[in-house]
């Protein structure tokens, strides 16, 4: 049962072959067994999940047609609000925050009869590439427990890889869905900017943040996206673009599909095991009928500095709201202090080191005298990064790259040098800067059986083609079917 896909669970629950409660229990038992070693969850809400599952079974027995994700256990990244369920962003500053409302994605999952089992660990406020910035300790990679699961949505990726859930939500600002998906050997989809409402997502960088699913198969990601996507009166950045049935796009046919390969960009600094897996993956796409086309992304090498200036500037503004007044932690010394001292002390005590570093960097690049040289310049180069992709998409349908230049690294290996940590995001950040949809699918293993991901990037709002290409790749290989020994 733990190996079941989202679509299999839904059909079993809808037909009554298996009850939602049985499914929920099986996944909760699995979570109880493996989570102590992995630390993938900040919170497991078993009672609430079982009650929700029992309600689905009751309504099915009464003749109601179950929703599109009926009975599917889902884990939610802990930076997404679930009404009544503690939501911390893995930060001390929100340690006891209980949201008074549901994020739109959570409401849509509930409307589709998915069962919410808990909140997953992540880097604090989604800032990190290794999950080591969590106030509640790092998540361990299910394939190699001395290694990082990636970040920032490391708990969601590890939970799906360990089959604690068949579906989890994450958020992706610079690769925070795709990189942990690659590191944990699962599928991770970052939809187009604007495809999915961010209402109820604790904002990090508002021009980049996007919510998406982790699953074991591309088909499951397509089913999840169909349920999550669409306009929302509560989010002015949620697009009115029509939402197709993404699963219907998975025809398995990619004959003639043009796959762009930015060979110069992926030439340097790529681990040899990642390189070998990537080369085999694009060969497999060609074997399935795709045509490989060389493309140039001349400004992609600048995407890291652009990203870390733009994202931190936006973060410094977004995180100004955590001041000890309306919610979250307040310094216990507040009685002896004036308001400004209370703000500064609360933020000092409540935020971890990486969040402070990014608030500082973002404040600096927005400050008088530095705005033009750093922030404005970064926004201009961002335009050039977008234009590179626009030109590439005139001659190709998707672009292929490794998701990460390196396999999952050891816990503690990069925590002393923030810049080295940032450089690991080299292949993921440009999709966020350009707003494009991108997916990571398992494409093999580096030395030591460490998972490697293939990243495909598509045109704005053309997740259908992106998913069709990823699904065709999955049909030609069996990497997605392999599971870690736990």
């Amino acid at each position: 049962m733990l190996q079941s896909t989202v679509s299999a669970i839904r059909s079993d629950v809808a037909s009554g072959r298996v009850s939602a409660v049985e499914i929920c229990r099986a996944f909760l038992d699995r979570t109880a067994a493996v989570n102590p070693a992995l630390n993938a969850f900040n919170l497991v809400s078993a009672e609430r999940a079982l009650a929700q599952a029992a309600d689905i079974d009751r309504r099915r027995a009464a003749g109601e047609t179950p929703g599109a994700l009926a009975g599917v256990p889902v884990a939610i990244k802990d930076n997404l609000c679930v009404r009544g369920m503690t939501t911390t962003a893995s930060s001390r500053i929100l340690e006891h925050f209980v949201p008074p409302y549901d994020a739109t994605v959570v409401a849509r999952l509930a409307a589709a009869d998915a069962v919410i089992v808990g909140k997953t660990n992540c880097d604090e406020f989604a800032m990190g590439s290794s999950n080591e910035n969590s106030a509640f300790g790092p998540v361990r990679n299910p394939w190699a427990q001395d290694r990082t699961p990636g970040g920032s949505s490391g708990g969601s990726a590890a939970a799906v890889a360990a089959r604690c859930v068949p579906l989890a939500l994450g958020s992706d600002t610079g690769g925070s869905i795709r990189q942990p998906a690659a590191f944990c050997g699962v599928v991770g989809l970052k939809p187009t900017y604007g495809r999915v409402s961010r209402y109820g997502l604790l904002a990090f960088a508002s021009s980049l943040d996007q919510i998406g699913p982790f699953t074991s198969t591309v088909r499951d990601a397509a089913l999840a996206l169909t349920a999550l996507a669409g306009p929302d009166p509560c989010d002015a950045t949620a697009s009115r673009e029509a939402v197709p049935d993404f699963a219907a796009a998975l025809t398995g046919d990619i004959k003639g599909l043009r796959v762009g390969v930015p060979r110069a960009f992926v030439a340097d600094g790529v681990d040899s095991g990642v390189r070998t897996a990537f080369d085999a993956a694009i060969d497999a796409l060609r074997g399935s009928g795709a045509q490989l086309v060389d493309v140039e992304l001349p400004h992609a090498a600048y995407a890291i500095p652009v990203y870390y200036l733009v994202a931190t500037a936006e973060a410094s503004s977004n995180l100004a709201r955590y001041d000890g007044v309306r919610y979250g932690y307040r310094s216990a010394h507040d009685k002896d202090q004036n308001l400004k001292q209370m703000y500064s002390r609360t933020r000092h005590e409540g935020f971890g080191a990486e969040v402070k570093r990014r608030i500082m960097l973002g404040t600096y690049v927005l400050s008088a005298g530095y705005y033009d040289a750093y922030y404005l310049k970064a926004q201009q180069v961002r335009t050039l990064v977008r234009q590179d992709y626009q030109q590439a998409f005139e001659k190709v349908d998707v672009v292929a790259m490794p998701t990460s230049p390196i396999p999952p690294f050891a816990l503690g290996e990069k925590t002393g040098d923030p810049l080295q940590m940032y450089l690991a995001d080299v292949f993921t950040v440009s999709a966020n800067l350009a707003g494009l949809p991108a997916i990571s699918v398992p494409c093999g293993f580096s030395e030591g059986r460490l998972p490697v991901g293939l990243q495909l990037t598509g045109r704005m709002f053309d997740e259908a083609t992106l998913l069709r290409a990823a699904d065709a790749y999955e049909r030609a290989t069996d990497w997605h079917a392999q599971a870690p020994a736990l």
Partner: protein, 96 residues
């Protein structure tokens, strides 16, 4: 620019960000921010004359009717406050 970042600069930024830092954090951030900003200076080599800035990538304006809608109940809105009374947020003195 960045290579000359000083502890005094870090203190000035911290004050703008309403963020108290320890002496150790000031030293560490002075070095780490200088490293990151030095790395970011490669952008100065890119010719961006006449290139518009991208603030966001959405091509459409999404609006809704300016109609009255229910909002959070007061008890819910102040329910997470560290210090609330009579439906209000209570804060330390503002002046002094």
């Amino acid at each position: 620019m960045a290579s000359t970042l000083t502890v005094a600069d870090v203190e000035r930024i911290a004050a703008l960000a309403q963020l108290e830092l320890t002496a150790e954090e000031k030293q560490l951030f002075t070095k780490q921010l200088a490293d990151i900003l030095t790395y970011a200076e490669q952008l100065q080599a890119v010719d961006t004359s006449g290139v518009p800035a991208t603030a966001h990538v959405l091509g459409e304006r999404v609006e809704r009717d300016d109609a009255e809608r229910p909002s959070l109940a007061i008890d819910d809105a102040v329910g997470n406050a560290p210090d609330a009374a009579a439906g209000l947020f209570r804060v330390p003195r503002v002046i002094g």
